[in-house]
Assembly symmetry: C2
Homo-oligomer: 353 residues x 2
């Protein structure tokens, strides 16, 4: 590896001059600059980022702490972060908590036990200390599933942006708008002539489930549709619960004509239950999901669902962080991005039936 000194010697100038062409190219003559550039190229010289960072105490490095990088959501969010950081010449360092690997092999969306375990706390602490030892100038925390992660992180002396995760303190967080997404799904179902709409709910004590439930209720209310409590079925985000709850729904005296499932996994379960009960989709029953997993387009019928702005969440998290770093902290701390409706084939128009 060559140093700035080697370049200076080869170009026949002093190191100060080399440094000047490298940075503020103003006060150096064109000819010397060219000679220096030539030498740089010849030696294939790249500045040593340690020395640079040590001197400037500016790393242009942002840390990502992902609860689980193998989750569907993380990849897109990180892609968005990278996309933005590329344009601003920042790099990324990644740490992965591997929650799903460590918790019950990915079968659990609730991490309370895990979070309270000593092993987990130690893991977070050591991960954070790795991150801060590498002189990151900011951190983006990516949750596996939007939930309250207040106090999961120790105090850091760099700004933190949460995405796909909430805190109840006054920190920056970027999420999609659960309420708006739920409204999108419900309005769509109602517009297509459904009034008996069941809800496949996530655990009611989870923040996103709660917000989506609000969307469900307000949509009904606004369209003056009565709410049947029995139509609200509580699942646990998993396929199996979607199957089981849909089965119960279909056996009711007055089964619903449509189901809004709070995630695609449960919607898959519901679709299979419908099939097993001889109920055709969307003829007898319309279903709308939430998440737009990759597979949803290939379901039979293709699943109408709500698409999440994951990549945008990532790039906005990065943008927010860099704005904070630049001393232009945005006003809004809890940003909610709109979801998109993906209309496919699992919802029929019953208006003329």
């Amino acid at each position: 590896m060559h140093t700035i000194r080697d370049v200076a010697k080869l170009a026949g100038v002093s190191i100060g001059t080399v440094s000047n062409v490298l940075n503020n190219q103003a006060k150096v003559s064109k000819q010397t600059a060219e000679r220096v550039q030539e030498a740089i190229k010849q030696l294939n010289y790249t500045p040593n980022s340690f020395a640079k960072g040590l001197k400037s105490s500016q790393s242009r490095l942002i840390g990502i702490l992902s609860e689980d990088i193998s989750s569907f959501f993380s990849g897109y969010i990180i892609d968005g972060i990278c996309e933005y950081c590329d344009t601003k010449d920042y790099s990324i360092t990644l740490c992965n908590l591997g929650i799903n690997r460590k918790a019950m092999h990915g079968t659990c969306f609730f991490y309370k036990d895990l979070e309270e375990s000593d092993a987990f706390k130690k893991n977070v602490a050591s991960t954070v200390s790795i991150l801060s030892a590498s002189q990151i100038c900011g951190l983006i925390y990516i949750g596996t599933h939007p939930r309250d992660v207040t106090a999961i992180l120790p105090d850091l002396d760099v700004p933190v942006i949460y995405t796909h995760a909430y805190t109840h303190t006054d920190t920056y967080s970027i999420n999609y708008d659960d309420y708006q997404g739920a409204r999108l799904a419900m309005d769509y179902l109602i517009k297509n002539g459904n009034s008996r709409i069941a809800l496949l709910c996530g655990p009611i004590d989870s923040v996103p489930a709660h917000k989506r439930l609000l969307g469900y209720q307000s949509a009904l209310m606004e369209h003056q549709i009565q709410l049947y409590p029995d139509y609200i079925r509580q699942g646990d985000w998993h396929y199996e619960s979607g199957y089981a709850e849909c089965a119960k729904l279909l056996q009711m005296k007055k089964p619903p004509t449509a189901i809004f499932s709070m995630n695609d996994n449960m919607a898959y379960g519901a679709m299979n239950a419908a099939q097993d009960f001889g109920c055709s989709i969307p003829g007898d029953l319309s279903i709308c999901g939430f998440d737009n997993l990759e597979h949803s387009a290939y379901m039979r019928p293709a699943l109408s669902t709500i698409q999440l702005p994951l990549r945008k969440m990532g790039s906005l998290a990065a943008e927010t962080l860099l704005d904070v770093l630049d001393g232009n902290p945005p006003q809004e701390t809890g940003l909610l991005l709109p979801c998109l409706l993906k209309e496919r084939a699992s919802v029929a128009n019953r208006n003329f039936a």
Copy 2:
């Protein structure tokens, strides 16, 4: 941020002693060590990695260059890398080429056009220079899809390990064993009483498709089953081609009793085609896929398929890299990890039919 000097002052010792406590704890008395530890804790001191790196010219930082972090495969591989690096106190810095984002929005598995474009080359070059400017001591390249990526990377002065990607030069690469995986699927299908086995093939000029085809052929040969060329259908890895080719298969005079699909996506297409043609799975037709995408367990019927050792590939890539760095380069350069058979419901036993 505190420095080693602050700690020394607080503990009433010299910086050399603090450094000794931090590193080779041997030649320092227990009492002073304790005092120093105390001071470290009190100041919440963490060593500055720039200064450390500058001095030692050892970053303990490995770079990951992922072709597309939002792909299903990348997440698991990176998880594996992190898992191993955690145990060895190495950190990770991540760069993402975002191939799918930049290419045709994720709809294309063939990147030749993209790879040959100037924009892409510039992108790779700048990404690599970012990575090497951050003083990584090694690089792991993660492909989106196993293929030959020789010469995609410029010359680097650190070792590179390829995973989920091949080169035809003498570099380290970690992949799963396409041949063995295909044999696993075929032996399973044959063991269950099938002799008329069709193949949903990927593009024949792709390395994994070629190897899996070899597995198909050798399995037939070993069991003295005649190969019908018409049973070998070429798709393009996508759902739609699986659907189309399966439809053709079902319309043949002598349709197959089983299909081995070279990936799950095409298998999904085949399953839906079978359904549309009134052909029941696995009663009339058995299907075995390849990849074990998350959704495959939820298909109706649940798809039997080949599971990829992605996480293991990641951890082994990291292990290999660190071994090379430690001066213990493994003999084997092209490592192939075995796949696993996931037996589910899409394959029936026809032996007693």
